[in-house]
Symmetry: D2
C-alpha cells in the first residue's frame, strides 16, 4: 500500500484514536485471516496431576456460598490467563469431599458432568436426584437448578463441561443462588428423568413436544458401552455404521428432537478398537477430549503425545487432530459444533491418517 | 332459498350436468358440515372371531405372488364396501402358516406390524432380519423392501397397519415386486436397526442426520412395558407425567427427529391402571385401537361395549371415545394424527369421563 | 394362486362378509397399484360455457343463507358424481350479481379466489376488506371469516379454489355462520394485509413470527406480471432462473415462512413465452390450471386440446401433462403438492416435450 | 469462605499456575455474573466527525490489495483496543473516492452496507452488480464474492456492518482474494437478485428451496419507507401492528424462509413518529443503531444524548435503551439477536419510558 504523506497519516491515525475509530487496512489480515488462526493452543492435561491438585484443594478449600464449587478449570495457555479450555468451552475437574454438599444455584450457562471414575454423588437437577457413577454423563441445561451431595466416605471427582466462555463472550450470563441448605438428600438408583425418557425410541405422550435442551439428563455408561460395542460388531457386515474402520461414535441426543442434548455443546463418546488409527481432521470450532479408558496417542498439529486414562486434550479451531491406539481407547468428547451449524459457519476437512 | 322459475331452474341443472358442473348451493351443508360428519362408523371386531377366520384362511388360501400376503382387512361398514378400517387407515390380521414364506415387495404405503401374540416370524426390512415377538412393534416405512418367513412349527398372526386408504385417496401408490425367493433366512435375536439405534438418547455419529421415517424399525415389548410401568410409578410424585390419573402412554418415535416414527401414522401404547376411567375425547382424524392385554370397556358415541384381549376398535373422526377398566388394560393405538398436524387441521375436545 | 376347495373358500368369503372383514389377496393389485391409477380423469372445461351457465344461475338463483354462495363446481367425471375437480381440490366459478352481497361464514377448509376477469367486488377477510381485480389472487385461510359484496353495476365472476374434497376425505370440516348482515362495506384500494405485508423482503417487527397460513392475503396482478416478465428477461443471462427455456413461474408464498401460502394448496402463476413447448411431467398429486391470458394447447396423457382464455384443466395424479403455445400464454395453477411433501409421498417424473 | 492454611493455599495456587489450571471459587462471581456485565460500553459516534475522518483518509490512503477496503471501524472503548463496536459486531464507515475501485474478495464473515447518503457505487455480489443508493440495504452473505466500483465524480461513504468480532471469537474466519481487476463494471438500475426476488410474497418456482442467507441482496429505500409509512397509517385502526404507539419497525428478511436476512445478524429499520418516546428495553446481546433521518435523543443506561443524522450508537448487552424524538426519526439497527435465539440464550426486559 503506497502512502504519500507520512506525517499527515500519523496525524490521521492519532485523530482516529481520539475519535474512537480504527483503520481496517492496517490490520485486515489479522482481523480476517485466510484460515482460522486460533489464539488457543493444543494442550494436554495429565489426569494424575489434576487429581493430585484436586485432592490438595479438597483439604484446603471448603465448598461454600460465593465460590460455589470446588472446580479447577483447565486454562488454555493461548487465552491470556482466562480459565478457559478453548474460546467457547470450560472444562474443570470438580472435587467433592466425603459427605460434602454443594447447595443449589442456577445459571444461563449450560453444564454437564462426565464421570471418569468413582461414584456416590447425587446431583439434584430441577428437583430430580440423579446418581453419578463411572462413565455416566449428566446434564444441567441452561437455567436448571442444581445441587450436589456426596453420600460416600470417599471423595469423588469428575469432569465439568460448561459454555462459560461462550456465554461470557456473548454477555449472556444470568446467575441465581438457591437456598443455602440442600433441598433433597434422597439417593434413588434411577432419576425421574430416566424413568420418563430412557427408553429407546419411546416418548411419553404427555410430553410429546420438542424442547430445546434434553429432557433426559442422565446417560448411563451401560447404554453407551453397549451402543459402541454394537456399532463395532455391526461394522463387520455394514461398514458405514462407524465413522471409519474401527472407530465407533455415539452422540448424546435430545430425545424430543433427535438433535444435540444441549443447544450450545455437542457431547459424544468415541471408541477406537485396538490397532486403530483415525483420519486426520480439521474442524472449525473447538473441542475437549478426555480419555475414559484404555490409552493411545493423539497427534495435534503434527505433534504426537501419549494419552492415558483421564487425560484431557483441548483442540483449537482448525487444528489437525488424529488418534491412534494399539490396545484400544474410549474417549469422551465435547465441542461447540452446534453453534457453528446454527450460524452457517461449520466446515470440516478430512485427510487420511499418516 | 327463494327460487322463482322452477322450470328454468330444472333446465339449468340439466345443463349443469351436461357441462360437467354442479351447484354448491344445493349441497353446501353436506359438503361443508358444521362438525365432521364421518361416514365411517365406530366398530369393534372380536379377536376370537378374527383369529378363527384367519386360521381357516390359512388352510384354504396359499400366500403367493400377486395376492402377496394372507391379510384379512377390517372393513368399516360405513365405507361402502371398501376394506378400510377408517378413511385413512388399513388394519388387517395377517396369518403366516408354519414354515411359510412371503417374498419381498415394496410400496409407497407405510406399514407396521403389531404382535398381539405368538412369535417365530422374521420380517426382513431392507435387508435387515427383524424378529417378531409378542408385544413388539415393527416398521416397514414407505418404499422399504420387506419379506417375511415363519421359522416356527406354529402359525403366527399379527396386526398389520398401513396407510393404504390415505395413499389410495391421494393416488400416491407405487408398488414393486422383489425376487420370487426369500433373500435372507437368518434369524438373529436382534436386528441391525436395533444394534444401531435402540439405545436411549444415543444417536450413531455416522448417521446423525434427521430422516423422515424412523431408522429404528423394532420397538421391543420389554422397553414399552417398562416405560409404561415407570410412568405410572412416577405419577405418584409427578402427576403430570401421565395423560390423566392412571393413564400412561408412550409414543413410538423416530429417534432422528423425536417426531412420529412414520410420517403418516402415529403409533402409541396406552396402559390403564386397574380402576381407571379416562376422559371422553373427540379428535379430528381417525384411529384404530387393539387391546393388548387385560380388558375393560370402551364408550363410543355414548354406547359402551366390552373389550377383551385382541379386540380391535375403529374410531371415526370426531367420535367421542372413553375407556374404562376394573382390572387394568394395555391398548395399542394407531392414528392418522400426523397428517392433520402437518396440514393445520388438528383439533381435539376433551370432556371429563361420565 | 392355487386354491384347493372352492366351496370352503366361498363359505369363508361369505363368513368374511358377515364378520365385516375382507381378503387382501383378491384385490391387492387394485388396492396397491404399481403406479398411481387415478379414478379422476383429465378434463377441460371451457370458460365461455362456464360463464354462460353462471350468468343463467345469476338470474335464477339468489345467494342466501344456507346455500351461502352462488358457486358452480367443476365435477370430474371420474369421481362418481362428486362436485370435485380432483380427489383433493375443489374448483368453482363463483358469480356475484351487481350490488349483491354474500354474508360472512368461516370454515376449516382453506379457500382462495383467482380473478380471471372483472372487478368491483370486495371480500372481507377477518375484518379486512380486500378488493378483487383482474389477475389478483386473494386468500381466505382456514377458519378466517369472509364475506363478499359487489359494489359494481355489473356482475363479477371468479375462480374459487378450496380443499373441500381433501377436508371431506379427512372428515375435518368445521363450519360456522356469521351475522346475517354484512359487517363491512368499505372499499379501500388496498387491504390492511397488504399495507402490512406487501413489501418485498420486509417483515413487520411486531409480527415477526412464523404462522402456518400466509398473513398476506392479496397478491396483485401488477406484482405477479412484473415478476414473470423479470424472470424471462433475466433468463437471457441466467438460464437457470426459469423452469425451462421460455417458461417462467412464480409461487405465491407465505412471507412469514417462505413456504406455500396455504398449508394444503400450492398456488402458482406460469408464463410461457411465444413459441414455448414445455417438458412433459408427471407428478404424484393433482392440479387445476386456468388460462389467464393468451392461449395454446395442453397435452394430457397423450391427447392434445386447445386452450383459450379462462379454460380450466383438471390434471389427475401421475397424468403426463405438457403445454405449448405459439402466441404466449399465462396459466394460473393450484395443486395439492404441499400435502405430498409434508407426508413424504412426493414424486415427479420429467421427460422432454415430444 | 474459611481457609485454614494460607501458606499451603498459596503453594497450591502456585502449583495450579504451573499445571495450567485455575480455581473457579476465587473468580466465580466474575465468570458467572448475576446479570450480563458487558465490558463493552454504550457509545455514540457523531456522523460529522466520522465523515471528516473518512474524507481525510480518502486523500491519504489508497484502497489496495492487502488492506482491501478504506473502512474505518468504530472501536468500543470497553473492548481493550479492538476495532469492534460490540463483542460480536463490526461497524465501519467505508469511503470510496470518485471512480475508485475495490477488487473482489470473499470471506466467511457476513456483511451488509447501509447507505446513509450518496449514490453512484455498484457492489458486485457473486457476479450480480447492485446499485447502492441512499436508504438502501445491500447484503454480501458469508462466502459471496464482492467488489465495489464508484462510477461517480464524488466520493461515496456508507456504513459497513459485519460479524467480524463474532467470527474472530469463534475462530471461524476464512478469506480469499479474487482477481486483481474488477470483474464487472456494468451499472444496471436493478440487480438480478431483485429481478428475481423483490416481488412481495412471490417466490421463483425454479428457486423454491429454503437457503440460510437471503437470496435477495438489495432492499430499496422506497420499499422500506413505504412499509414504515403504511404501518403508522394502519396503526390508527389496528394498534398492534406497530411495536408501540408511534413506533413502526420492519425487519429485512430472507424471503426463502421468512427469517433473518443473514444467519448471524438481525437487520431492521425503525421509524418514530414526531413526539414518540419508546419504552426502555434491555436485551441480551448487543446492537448498533444509525440515525438515517430526522433526529432525537437516546437514553443509554440512564444517560440521555442527542442524536443527529448519521450518528451511530453502540448498545452493549443488557444495557437499558430508549429513544425519543419531537420531530420524528428513522433509525437503522443491526444486532446479533439471531445468535441468541438459535442458542436458547435470548432474553428481553421491557419497562415503560420514564
Amino acid at each position: 500500500m503506497t502512502v504519500v504523506d507520512n506525517q499527515a497519516l500519523e496525524q490521521l491515525y492519532s485523530d482516529f484514536t481520539q475519535a474512537g475509530v480504527m483503520a481496517l487496512w492496517t490490520q485486515r489480515a489479522d482481523l480476517m485471516p485466510d484460515v482460522p488462526r486460533a489464539s488457543a493452543v493444543p494442550r494436554i492435561w495429565e489426569w494424575a496431576q489434576l487429581l493430585a491438585l484436586a485432592e490438595r484443594a479438597g483439604r484446603l478449600v471448603p465448598v461454600g456460598r460465593g465460590g460455589e464449587r470446588r472446580a479447577i478449570a483447565l486454562a488454555n495457555p493461548g487465552l491470556g490467563g482466562a480459565p478457559f479450555a478453548t474460546p467457547t468451552l470450560w472444562a474443570a475437574i470438580q472435587y467433592l469431599a466425603p459427605k460434602e454438599l454443594a447447595p443449589a444455584h442456577r445459571h444461563s450457562q449450560s453444564a454437564f458432568r462426565f464421570v471418569v471414575e468413582g461414584e456416590g454423588v447425587w446431583t439434584v437437577v430441577d428437583g430430580d436426584p440423579v446418581a453419578m457413577r463411572r462413565g455416566d454423563l449428566l446434564l444441567t441445561p441452561s437455567m436448571s437448578w442444581h445441587e450436589h451431595h456426596n453420600t460416600a466416605n470417599e471423595a469423588m471427582v469428575w469432569l465439568d463441561g460448561l459454555d462459560i466462555p461462550l456465554v461470557a463472550a456473548l454477555d449472556a450470563g444470568f446467575f441465581e443462588l438457591g437456598p443455602g441448605e440442600l433441598t433433597d438428600r434422597s439417593t434413588p438408583y434411577r432419576s425421574r428423568s430416566e424413568a420418563l425418557w430412557a427408553h429407546p425410541g419411546l416418548v411419553p405422550v404427555a410430553r410429546a413436544t420438542a424442547v430445546p435442551n434434553s429432557p433426559l439428563v442422565a446417560y448411563r455408561w451401560s447404554h453407551t458401552d453397549e451402543a459402541l460395542d454394537s456399532q463395532l460388531d455391526l461394522e463387520r457386515s455394514c461398514p458405514d455404521v462407524t465413522l471409519e474402520p474401527g472407530h465407533a461414535g455415539v452422540r448424546f441426543s435430545n430425545p424430543s428432537t433427535g438433535g444435540d442434548a444441549l443447544a450450545t455443546m455437542r457431547l459424544e463418546m468415541h471408541r477406537l478398537s485396538p490397532g486403530t488409527k483415525t483420519a486426520r481432521t480439521q474442524s472449525v470450532g473447538s473441542s475437549v477430549w478426555q480419555v475414559f479408558s484404555g490409552g493411545g496417542a493423539v497427534e495435534l498439529s503434527g505433534t504426537t503425545s501419549l494419552l492415558n486414562h483421564g487425560d484431557v486434550v483441548a483442540v483449537p479451531s482448525w487444528c489437525p487432530i488424529a488418534f491412534q491406539t494399539t490396545s484400544g481407547m474410549d474417549i469422551f468428547c465435547f465441542s461447540d459444533a452446534p453453534i457453528y451449524e446454527a450460524l452457517g459457519l461449520a466446515r470440516t476437512k478430512r485427510s487420511p491418517g499418516s
